[in-house]
Structure formats: structure tokens, C-alpha cells
């Protein structure tokens, strides 16, 4: 069975001067019909539209239709990509592998040239480092999974003998877009939780001279990760972000706002224990610790693993994994939200739910409590007053903040006006 066939050697990489077929050509050659491609783009359009497009894009911009996305995607050549995995668990890459779309394998192989990613790349050792160094030299998209440990002179995470910080700095130098993907890359996540033994920080603590788009979540939904990359390619610019640097197309709404269990919250129907009648009826999980009211994520809309389910759909409270320092701020996970130390919201589910049973009043009640604590931020850490939580300063996100170039007449916040205290 042994073959004497000599396979062709690898084509030399000539980074920056390659001539690649466009995605459209590639798809055509590989037999992907325009119709199938449009269906894929329709999914993307849905994801983008899920975010408030008025907030995400200037009002004058063309609406993001599947046709437009298909046209723009078809015209791009393959950008080089460096996809780093620093101090992390590979969950974000696994999530990326689960991203939906019927022909995503072909699309990804044709859409991007991922020259460096430790999980899937063929090369190892010196050959891998060479691919990284050469790609780093010229324009590329940088995707980062994982945090950067600053303790022990960087010895808590080394790659090719270099510290994670050095690897990140070298890859960021000529990157035209930087996406911090996953809670670790954004805020350090689990290893940055108290007492943060390795001194882990997120990407934008290290890279401060370039914009870093934060795709938060532990992990983020696969479709959100790939849509962030597709956004950059189709729009030629970074997506609009909220006060935490997260793209508004996936993070401008609280889970609570689009949760299918929301009517039960408004009606005061709460799960009291995981095996009660309320649990089987799909009632609201607020009372058993759900963090949905203060978590910004597209989970209820996009859902997980080809729209199979999502955490609340499977009966478990949201643990708030798209929020900053969620491990420290939102634990104990099963404690009712207002009682979580540091959030300081006085209302309880009982008061809100039973005291103000009405279409929006109950929702407004809890929003009011939260909104009173929010502060406007033009960009994170540039303004606003911090909240004392667990002995440290944290900010609650504020999606009503528009990017600086958004038209002044764009609605700032379409949710029910948050008056002063309306709780019962």
C-alpha cells in the first residue's frame, strides 16, 4: 500500500504580495451556488440585524441585506490571519468550530488564510514559529483567545520560549484589526478571578495604542465569533461597540430583554427549586440566580450549537459569562441577583414580580435599579463612576452609548424609559 508518490512541496509564502482568488471565485469554483451562499449570508444578516442596526451603523448606510453581504464577501481576497491561543482552555476555538452555516468549512477555507493557530495548524515547532513571524511582518487580522499572565516574568504561559505578552505584542504590531475573543482575552476570566495567581489580564491591558474589539463570553457563541470576522471583511471597518468594547450587533440587549421566559417574570411566575412545577413549566429562573437581567448577550436570539438550545432554555440560570469579571461579580451563581454582593439592587423578585404585575412595570422596576447604577461611558475606563463590588471597582455596561460618529438622532435606547425608582 506504500506509495512512492512524491507530493508537491509547499508553495512559498509571499506574505503581502499574494494574489488570491476572490471568495466569489473560490465559491464558484468549488461549486457553491449563489443561492446557497445567499442563504449563508442571510444568517449573517440576521445576526447583524439582531443588534440594533440604528446603533450599530450610521443611519445613512445601506441596510445589511443578504445580497449586500454576499456582494461584499464575494469581492474580498483572503486576508492573512494570526489566531493566537494564550492562557486559555481552547473553548473559544471549539466554539468557532461549531459555528453554523451549511458550507462554513468551504467558506472558511476560502475566506481566510489562517496561517497560525495552534489547535488546527499542520505545522509545529520551528515551522509554526516561522509561519507566525512571516505573517506578523505584514498586514493581517489578529484574533486572540486567552489572557496574558504578567506574573513570574511571563513564565506562566510561554510559546516557542517567548512569554504570552511578547507573542501578543509582536503579532499586534502590524495587525490591521484586533479581535479579543472570549472572556479570557477580554478580561482575564477564570484565571483572573480572585486571587488571580498568575496576574492574568485581557488583551487591551497590553495593547493600548490600537482599538481592540471585545467579543466577550465564555466562550462566545460560534456564530458571533465568525460574524465579527465577517463584519470586518464586509464593512472594511470595525463594528460599533458598546462601553465595554463589545460589538453592538451581538451585545446591545440584555438576555432578560429577549428571554422567552420574560413573560413569566412579568407575571411573577418564578422557579423556586429546580424540580418544581414552575421549572417544568419554563417559568422565570430569576429567583434561583439567573443573571440575565444584567447580562448583555445574543444567547436567546442566536442560541447555541445550530439553534439547539441555550442555557436558560435548558433550565439553568444564566451565569453572566459575557460580563466583566463575571466569576467574581456574579457568584454565588445561585443567589438571587439583587442579593449578589455589590450589585446593591434592593428589589427582590417577590417585590418586583408580585408587587407590580403588569406588562412592563415589573421589567422597568429591575431596569430602573440597574440603570440607576449605570453611567455613560464614551469608551470604557474613560468616564463614569465605578461601582463598588466585592471590594473592587467595576462598571456596569451601558449599551445606550453610541459610538462617537453615530448620528445624533439615532435612538439612544429603545427600551422602556428607566425612570427613577419605580419598584414596589
Amino acid at each position: 500500500m506504500t506509495s512512492s508518490l512524491t507530493p508537491p512541496g509547499p508553495a512559498p509564502i509571499d506574505v503581502g504580495r499574494w494574489r488570491a482568488p476572490t471568495l466569489g471565485e473560490n465559491l464558484e469554483q468549488s461549486g457553491v451556488s449563489r443561492r446557497d451562499f445567499l442563504a449563508f449570508c442571510g444568517v449573517l444578516a440576521g445576526i447583524f440585524a439582531m443588534g440594533d442596526t440604528a446603533l450599530a451603523r450610521p443611519a445613512s448606510a445601506e441596510p445589511l441585506t443578504a445580497e449586500l453581504i454576499a456582494d461584499k464577501l464575494s469581492a474580498v481576497t483572503k486576508p492573512n490571519v494570526v489566531w493566537l491561543q494564550l492562557q486559555e482552555c481552547t473553548g473559544c476555538m471549539e466554539s468557532t468550530l461549531r459555528s453554523g452555516g451549511t458550507t462554513i468549512e468551504e467558506a472558511v477555507l476560502s475566506l481566510l488564510s489562517v496561517n497560525y493557530n495552534e489547535l488546527v495548524m499542520a505545522a509545529a515547532g520551528d515551522a509554526a514559529n516561522k509561519a507566525l513571524d512571516e505573517t506578523n511582518k505584514s498586514d493581517h487580522i489578529l484574533v486572540v483567545n486567552g489572557s496574558i499572565p504578567r506574573g513570574a516574568n511571563g513564565a506562566y504561559c510561554t510559546i516557542g520560549g517567548k512569554s504570552a505578552e511578547q507573542v501578543l505584542r509582536e503579532s499586534a504590531e502590524h495587525a490591521s484589526a484586533i479581535l479579543a475573543v472570549g472572556a479570557c482575552a477580554v478580561w482575564g476570566s477564570v484565571q483572573a478571578s480572585k486571587p488571580n495567581p498568575t496576574g492574568a489580564v485581557g488583551v487591551d491591558e497590553i495593547i493600548t495604542d490600537k482599538p481592540v474589539v471585545n467579543i466577550s463570553g465564555c466562550p462566545p457563541i460560534g456564530e458571533v465569533i465568525t460574524a465579527a470576522v465577517a463584519y470586518v471583511l464586509t464593512q472594511g471597518e470595525l463594528p460599533a461597540v458598546d462601553g465595554e468594547g463589545r460589538p453592538t450587533f451581538a451585545y446591545d440587549q440584555r438576555i432578560h430583554d429577549s428571554c422567552p421566559r420574560r413573560p413569566h417574570y412579568d407575571a411573577g411566575q418564578f422557579v423556586r427549586t429546580f424540580d418544581d412545577e414552575g421549572a417544568r413549566m419554563g417559568w422565570c429562573l430569576y429567583d434561583v440566580g439567573c443573571k440575565g437581567p444584567s447580562t448583555f448577550s445574543a444567547c436567546p436570539v442566536i442560541q447555541w450549537n445550530l439553534h439547539t438550545s441555550w442555557p436558560i432554555g435548558a433550565g439553568h440560570p444564566c451565569i453572566g459569562c459575557t460580563e466583566k469579571h463575571f466569576f467574581d461579580r456574579f457568584t454565588p451563581f445561585y443567589q438571587t441577583l439583587p442579593n449578589v454582593p455589590g450589585l446593591g439592587v434592593e428589589a427582590t423578585a417577590e417585590k418586583v414580580g408580585w408587587g407590580l404585575v403588569g406588562a412592563t412595570a415589573a421589567g422597568v422596576g429591575i431596569h430602573a435599579g440597574l440603570t440607576a447604577l449605570r453611567r455613560s461611558l464614551a469608551r470604557k475606563r474613560t468616564a463614569g463612576e465605578p461601582l463598588e463590588a466585592l471590594g473592587e471597582k467595576v462598571w456596569l455596561p451601558d449599551p445606550s452609548v453610541r459610538p462617537a460618529d453615530a448620528p445624533a438622532d439615532a435612538p439612544a435606547d429603545r427600551r422602556p424609559a428607566a425612570g427613577p425608582s419605580q419598584e414596589g
Partner: protein, 580 residues
């Protein structure tokens, strides 16, 4: 004259692994396994609500997602005396099985196959002959069509034409030891892409019960996902039908695609059944998915195959199954950047473990680590003082030694086809084959045992998936110690927890890759990775600049380095963070 070889990053694994070698005349003489990441999660979980611990420790790994969470909730349940209902246990078994098969499929096709399969060569293949080749090896996979093979061949050609090889950049494609004919390479690349598509489907079984993947949700005392066939908002017949479909697909994929591919490809590289042996000691508490809360010698288990008992095989003797004794496990730090209060040569049982990081290596960037006694973040676990192998090869050999019928059938069939003996499973090719055999057994157990049992119990009205009686911390003992053993994809996983005054007082995980990737112990015994490369002194390395052969051997263990590194802060002890 010896040559120094460094492989860092060792890619297509989870996490950060560096291998340093000294070679002479094309053979590896010395090897060092070096874990280059440390995160400290067990320290972080300390003083927290034990009901939250699963969410923290699950983040040990996003590849082995859910297995640490299940090990954690079982250990906590053991500590506080919670008793999850049988349906909840079955659901965890189903999640473990689907996760494990998916994990093995991803490992074989996406993390290991490129060591054996030459991607550029696929562009030169005749699609019709590739289909013929697939048929000749007994692959009945529905993707074996001329149209599909043609499309994949064209995709490979386009990538080559574009000059941008994407993830195939820098592969050792001109290495002389790629042996498959072009048609086999094309078939394997097609199956690589099919598996990428398929793993998404397979994982959805766990999503129904846990809400997402990676990192689904679990619950101390049972599961949060209610089941009630007569309710729209709980898991009902709609989801059961979907799961039945995915379970059937899973078995079909393994039987018609994965197992035949593994047999055929390992058959072409048959000399690798004589390469890469590690110490012939094996430990397992049962077949994949076997789960114990507390001592496996005494406590109850959940398993699709209760007839396979916990056991240890020593010194290559497959005729004697020694009873498994958890108290014989100890961890050593002679080669790891930690310090023990009683001296760094001591071995500590997990229940008394300490982890105080103390980095003594060179300041990054560095060229070489192996000159120092300490060179890794991974501890070295030993059983009764011996390095042992865990994982599919250990489980398959244990089940075989106990005469488990299906295991014996599949192993004997494969051994007959390949002309190897059972003890040759201790090898680079053997570990890869054992994983495929195990995936078959697990996929069958999912389809024939665990999922039908869940449905059958539902038919009898058993919808209880959560035990509320120990949810409230006031029902817990003032101090409780618990532990769990779970057989997960990469091998034997144990979590150890002490709950005091409603908080986690101590937490420790001993994970499969720690058993395998650890370095030398105080007696100078190498860890299994090191032994597999340097033990016999005959491991090939054709070209130091293209270390394809050691990659094959290390990948055969399916390394998971994030899992391998763990830290325990003993009660009251301050964690020492070295900052300069």
C-alpha cells in the same frame, strides 16, 4: 555527537506543550516533556460556594468540556451527601458518551491525521479511485462519492493555487515518511472535512441537556433540565426524537467512517505498533464514562458497562488485574516548578496535596529548559510509585483483560487484520487504534444502553432529575470530604474536594494528561510522554528540522495541557507568586 531538538509550540493539541530532545544518529536518546502554561484554577475556587465549583473547574478545559464539571458535581455530592436521581446520572452518562466520541473524532481527524495524511498530495488523486480505496477498506460512509471527492480535490487544488495554504502552511509535506497513496490522502482529507461538519451535529446531544457547548451547565444534586413529556417548555418527545437521530448518526459515523479509516491508516504505518511504547502500567476505573462518587472499590457507579471493574495492570502483565486503590496515588514535583513543605522529593496524595508555584526556570525568552532539574508546570502522578498510562489504551486493555465481550471482539478483529498482538497496543499506532475501538464501544453503548434506558424510565413515569434535599447548605455536614473518579476521553480523571462551613476549603484535580505529560519523579523515572520517545532509545527522527515522528507519538496520547496543570492551595497556605 548529540543534537538538541526543540518542538515548541507542539501544535494540534489543547494548550501549551514543549518537547526537548537529544538525538543521536537519527534516534532519540533523551526526552523532556515540558508544560508551559499555568493558570491556578483550584486556588481560585477556594472559599467559594461548592455548588459553583463546577463552573470554575469546567474552564480547566474547553475541549474536555463538561467532564470536569461532571467530576466536580459528583465530588461535591460525595462530600455533602447529595444523591442525584438515576435519570440525572443517566443524562450525565449520555453527555459523557457523546462528548467522548466527539472528542475522539476531532482528535483523529483534526489533531492527529495530518501526521499521517499528506494534504497537498490529495490534489493529485483520482476521485474515482479514492472512492474505490474507501470501499476497499470497508468504509461505507455516505460521503464516499465521486462528486464529493472531486469537490474536495478541487478545494485542495485551489488552496495550493492561491499560494496561501492557510492552516496547512508549514506542514512537513515533503517529508519522505508520508506513505499513503494520493487516493487515500484524498479520502482522508474528505473525511477530515466531513468530520468537521459532523462534530457539530454530534455535540448537540449535550446541548439539549446543558444548554450550550462548549461549557454546558450542570447542577450539584442532578440536572437543571427538566423532562416532562407532556410539557412544551421542558425536554419532551421533540428533543428525544432529535437525540435519537444524533445518537444513530454518531454510531453510523464511527462504524462507517472513523473505525475503518483508523484501521486502514494505522495499517499503512504498521511499524508504529513497535514505536512509542511507554511504561506498560495501566489504570482505569472502567470503560469510558464510568463515574464513581468516592472510592471505586466501595462506592456505587454509573456506567454503561458495570461488568468492567476498576483495576490496574502492572509491568505489561495482562493476565492479572490488580484491584484499584485510590490511596496509592501520589504526585511528585521533582521536575515541576512547585515547592512542597516537606521537601520537593516527597510524593503527596491528592487529598493532602500542595501546590505552591515556584518558577525557577530561565526568564523568557529562553532557548533550552532541560538542563535544570525542574523544567515543567506539570506534576508527576505515580500509582504505587510507578508511572502509568491512562486513557483509551488503558481502558481497552483493562476491559480486554477482564474478558469484556465487545472489547475482545473488536480488539481481536483489529489485531487479526493488522497482524499485531494485543500488547502492541502500547505504541503510537496502538493508542490511536484503541481510541477508535473505544469510540465504537461508546457509540454503541449510547445507542443501545444509556439512551434507551433514559427513555424506558420516562415511559415508566420517572421524570425526576434533581434532588433538592441537599441544596440548602444548612443540610450539609460541617466538614465533608469528597472525591470522584470519571473515565473521560483522555483517561482517568479525579476531583478531590473538602467542604467546610459551606465553602470549598480545598480543591484538587488529578487529570489524564497530568498522568501522561508529567516529567521525571524523585527517582528519575520518566513520565509516559518522555518514555514513549526516549525509553527504548530507538524512536526514529529522520530530520531534526521536520520532527514528524515525535509529533506522531505525542499526538497519539491526545495531549490536553490546560487540563494537565493544576494548583492546590493547602488550607491557609499563602500562594507564592514569583514576580521576579
Amino acid at each position: 555527537m548529540s543534537t538538541r531538538v526543540v518542538i515548541d509550540p507542539l501544535t494540534r493539541i489543547e494548550g501549551h506543550l514543549r518537547i526537548e530532545l537529544e538525538t543521536e544518529g537519527g534516534a532519540i536518546r533523551k526526552a523532556w516533556s515540558e508544560t508551559t502554561q499555568f493558570r491556578g484554577i483550584e486556588t481560585i475556587v477556594q472559599d467559594r460556594d461548592p455548588r459553583d465549583a463546577w463552573a470554575f473547574v469546567q474552564r480547566i478545559c474547553g475541549v474536555c468540556t463538561s467532564v470536569h464539571a461532571i467530576a466536580s458535581v459528583v465530588a461535591v455530592e460525595n462530600a455533602i451527601g447529595a444523591n442525584p436521581p438515576r435519570q440525572a446520572r443517566l443524562i450525565r452518562d449520555i453527555v459523557l458518551a457523546s462528548q467522548e466520541v466527539q472528542d475522539h473524532v476531532i482528535h483523529f481527524y483534526h489533531l492527529h491525521a495530518l501526521d499521517w495524511v499528506n494534504v497537498p498530495s490529495a490534489a493529485t488523486a483520482d476521485p474515482a479511485k479514492a472512492v474505490e480505496f474507501a470501499r476497499s477498506i470497508g468504509s461505507t460512509w455516505k460521503g464516499n462519492t465521486i462528486e464529493r471527492m472531486t469537490a474536495v480535490r478541487d478545494t485542495v487544488q485551489q488552496i495550493l493555487d492561491s499560494g496561501q495554504l492557510s492552516i496547512f502552511t508549514g506542514g512537513y509535506w515533503d517529508h519522505p515518511d508520508y506513505r499513503l497513496p494520493a487516493e487515500a490522502n484524498l479520502m482522508a482529507v474528505a473525511h477530515y472535512l466531513d468530520a468537521l461538519e459532523f462534530q457539530r451535529s454530534m455535540i448537540r446531544i449535550g446541548t439539549v441537556f446543558g444548554g450550550k457547548n462548549p461549557h454546558p451547565n450542570f447542577l450539584v444534586g442532578g440536572m437543571a433540565c427538566t423532562i416532562d413529556l407532556d410539557r412544551s417548555e421542558s425536554i419532551n418527545q421533540v428533543q428525544l426524537d432529535q437525540i435519537a437521530d444524533w445518537v444513530a448518526e454518531t454510531r453510523d459515523f464511527v462504524a462507517s467512517c472513523y473505525l475503518p479509516d483508523a484501521l486502514a491508516i494505522m495499517g499503512v504505518y504498521k511499524d508504529y505498533f513497535d514505536i512509542g511504547a511507554a511504561q506498560p502500567n495501566y489504570l482505569a476505573v472502567g470503560l469510558a464514562g464510568a463515574t464513581f462518587g468516592g472510592d471505586p472499590g466501595a462506592s456505587r457507579t454509573t456506567s454503561a458497562h458495570t461488568e468492567v471493574k476498576p483495576g490496574v495492570l502492572l509491568d505489561g502483565d495482562l493476565s492479572t488485574v490488580h484491584p484499584f486503590d485510590p490511596t496509592k496515588i501520589a504526585e511528585y514535583i521533582a521536575s515541576a516548578w512547585y515547592t512542597y513543605q516537606d521537601g520537593d522529593d516527597a510524593g503527596l496524595a491528592p487529598a493532602q496535596g500542595e501546590t505552591t508555584p515556584q518558577y525557577t526556570g530561565p526568564k523568557p525568552p529562553f532557548e533550552w529548559l532541560a538542563d535544570a532539574d525542574k523544567y515543567t508546570w506539570c506534576k508527576a502522578p505515580r500509582y504505587d510509585g510507578k508511572p502509568v498510562q491512562v486513557g483509551p489504551v488503558a481502558r481497552i486493555l483493562l476491559a480486554y483483560a477482564q474478558g469484556h465481550q465487545r472489547t475482545c471482539e473488536l480488539v481481536d478483529d483489529a489485531a487479526g487484520k493488522l497482524g499485531i498482538t494485543v500488547d502492541q497496543l502500547n505504541s503510537t499506532a496502538g493508542r490511536t487504534l484503541a481510541r477508535a475501538v473505544e469510540a465504537m464501544i461508546s457509540a454503541e453503548a449510547l445507542a443501545e444502553v444509556t439512551f434507551p434506558q433514559l427513555v424506558d424510565n420516562l415511559k415508566k413515569g420517572d421524570i425526576d432529575v434533581f434532588d433538592n434535599s441537599r441544596w440548602d447548605p444548612s443540610t450539609w455536614p460541617d466538614k465533608g470530604e469528597g472525591f470522584s473518579f470519571v473515565e473521560v476521553a483522555r483517561g482517568n480523571l479525579s476531583h478531590w474536594v473538602t467542604v467546610e462551613d459551606g465553602k470549598v476549603a480545598r480543591y484538587q484535580a488529578v487529570v489524564p494528561t497530568t498522568w501522561l505529560a508529567g516529567g521525571r519523579d524523585a527517582d528519575g523515572q520518566q513520565g509516559p510522554y518522555e518514555e514513549s520517545l526516549a525509553g527504548a532509545g530507538s524512536h526514529p527522527l529522520h530530520d531534526a528540522a521536520q520532527p514528524l515522528e515525535p509529533l506522531r507519538t505525542i499526538h497519539s496520547f491526545d495531549p490536553c495541557m490546560s487540563c494537565a496543570v493544576h494548583v492546590l492551595d493547602v488550607e491557609g497556605a499563602e500562594l507564592q507568586v514569583v514576580t521576579s
